[in-house]
């Protein structure tokens, strides 16, 4: 199946939560409960759902950043769990992730130029000049500047850090990017700029995105298909038009109805 870049089959993941003073008690949290999903090549699949429903767990498991209890993940037809460490590293260049917590994912002792160039270096792409050129170009596309290369993560605002995470993933020109709440900290103008950039790169390179977001307005603009997660299960999956026009599940309807300020932004004067 060449038109599907990523295919997940019957994924299960359970966390065991110790509890009680001595850690004797324990509860099980079913973060992924039989999740199957396909991502079409060159398209964007948004994953939405309640906080704690398993979206980030799904993202990490798809990229083999976390072991599954059960199930298989095929990337371009290859079962990722069956690869050797070296083979998996090869594939990693093509599968990038933008993490939910930007600050925690940036090494505080590295300069931004180094952080964004690191992947290029690891995968031996280009010489030093070419790498620097690529890094500068990507920083500019996410609304940062060449001068920012010399700064450290703590010198940036929340939204600037989030854009550093995006630049780091996109500079490698991967085939698949898993984005976990990539624009949640951005003002609406930068948000539009980043979403347009993602779309542009998608057209240029036939990129595929798995796009986790709680912002249903953003999802409406970026996604081709939407999958809804609820308590570890994937409860609804449809094209964005169909899902917004006629949501089937009660939970999905609630989500769509709860978009803040949906009545429009105008506020009644008291």
């Amino acid at each position: 199946m060449s038109d599907v870049i990523l295919s997940a089959r019957h994924l299960f993941k359970t966390y065991t939560q110790r509890s009680g003073r001595l850690g004797l008690g324990s509860t099980k949290i079913h973060a992924l409960d039989d999740v199957s999903v396909d991502l079409k090549t060159g398209s964007t699949l948004a994953v939405v759902g309640e906080s704690g429903s398993g979206k980030s767990t799904l993202a990490r498991c798809l990229l083999q950043l976390q072991p599954l209890d059960q199930g298989e993940v095929l990337f371009q037809g290859v079962d990722l769990a069956k690869l050797t460490a070296a083979e998996l590293r090869q594939q990693r260049r093509d599968m990038q992730m933008v993490f939910q917590d930007p600050f925690a994912s940036l090494n505080p002792r590295m300069r931004i130029g180094e952080i964004v160039a690191e992947g290029l270096l690891i995968h031996g792409l280009g010489n030093a000049d070419e790498r620097e050129h690529k890094v500068i170009k990507m920083l500019k596309r996410v609304g940062l500047t060449e001068a920012d290369m010399k700064k450290y993560p703590h010198q940036f605002s929340g939204g600037q850090r989030q854009r550093i995470g995006i630049a780091r993933a996109l500079v490698l020109e991967p085939k698949l990017v898993v984005c976990d709440e990539p624009v949640s900290a951005l003002d609406v103008s930068i948000q539009a700029q980043i979403l347009l950039l993602l779309k542009e790169l998608q057209q240029e390179m036939n990129l595929s995105y798995l796009f986790i977001s709680h912002d249903l307005r953003v999802v409406r603009h970026i996604a081709d298909e939407v999958a809804v997660m609820h308590r570890g299960k994937l409860i609804e999956h449809d094209t964005v038009e169909a899902l917004y026009a006629a949501p089937k599940q009660e939970y999905t309807k609630n989500l769509l109805n709860a978009i803040p300020g949906r009545k429009g932004l105008s506020v009644q004067t008291a």
Partner: protein, 279 residues
């Protein structure tokens, strides 16, 4: 003296580069029982302003002018100990990045309970019950009190921060993008919880957000920041319905619609810098 907060002429620079103003002559006031939303460009100085109120600016930054009056008292003149008494007890703060402000080696229940013990002397069963109730108010099962921060989802961590910030029912809450990791249903629950505190305790809120839907729902007043300065402020209806400054107009024009009909369009800064007339 009914005023809760008055910031006057706040200016912040990097210690190593004092000519670069990150926050420039910012002034604002907040009344008890009111909510002021701070919106604006990424990097415009919103978080630094909030951190300056809490006297938590990093050593590399310097406040070179300005006063921060909280209930009439200038916080910039207080020593560490006096400030510690106010922080967490009379002013609560929700930081923009939960992971950097939660301690990874302590359970979240312990961290929520800490300020209750320090400020209110709660211990034992009473403490445990209060922590459980706070967790449930933010939609997390009380059994998760024994979890460590990295065992929680992004939105759960954010809600732990919210529970910590309101534990002592502060007179003022500073919330820096507190709901960015929350889906709309949980977000609605949290906004309702904060609104209750506002009504019941007459709590005042300084609420930083980029989400104009949230602004429309909760703000009494709005402050717009752009390149370190406040460029516009006023009652929410006025700022959203009749924005005056070109930046505010441009920003509002970028708000994505829920139907996906309007094309995405970032701000063209050339006309803000130029004659202030949209191209």
């Amino acid at each position: 003296m009914t005023e809760l907060l008055r910031i006057e002429g706040l200016t912040i620079v990097p210690a190593a580069m004092p000519e670069r103003m990150l926050v420039k002559d910012v002034s604002l006031t907040l009344q008890p029982g009111r909510t002021t939303c701070v919106v604006g460009e990424s990097g415009s100085g919103k978080s630094l302003t909030a951190l300056a109120v809490m006297q938590l600016l990093s050593k590399q930054l310097k406040q070179i002018s300005g006063r921060v009056l909280f209930q009439g008292q200038d916080l910039t003149t207080l020593n560490h100990e006096q400030m510690r008494d106010i922080r967490g007890k009379r002013i609560g703060m929700i930081f923009q990045e939960p992971m950097t402000s939660l301690n990874p080696v302590l359970t979240v229940g312990y961290q929520i309970g800490e300020s209750l013990t320090v400020h209110l002397g709660l211990k034992g069963k009473a403490l445990k019950a209060r922590v459980a109730s706070l967790l449930e108010q933010v939609g997390i099962p009380a059994t998760r009190a024994d979890s460590y921060p990295d065992e929680l989802s992004g939105g759960q961590r954010q809600r732990v921060m919210i529970a910590m910030s309101i534990a002592c029912e502060p007179a003022m809450l500073i919330a820096d993008e507190p709901t960015t990791a929350l889906d709309v249903t949980v977000q609605a629950q949290i906004l309702k919880l904060l609104d209750e505190l506002k009504t019941r305790m007459n709590m005042g809120m300084l609420f930083i957000t980029h989400d104009f839907g949230v602004v429309a729902d909760i703000a009494d007043d709005v402050v717009v920041m752009f390149r370190g300065e406040i460029v516009e402020s006023g009652p929410v209806a006025q700022v959203l319905n009749q924005p005056q400054h070109p930046y505010t107009k441009a920003l509002l024009a970028c708000v994505p619609d829920a139907d996906g009909k309007k094309a995405l369009q970032p701000i063209d800064y050339a006309w803000i810098d130029g004659d202030g007339v949209p191209a």
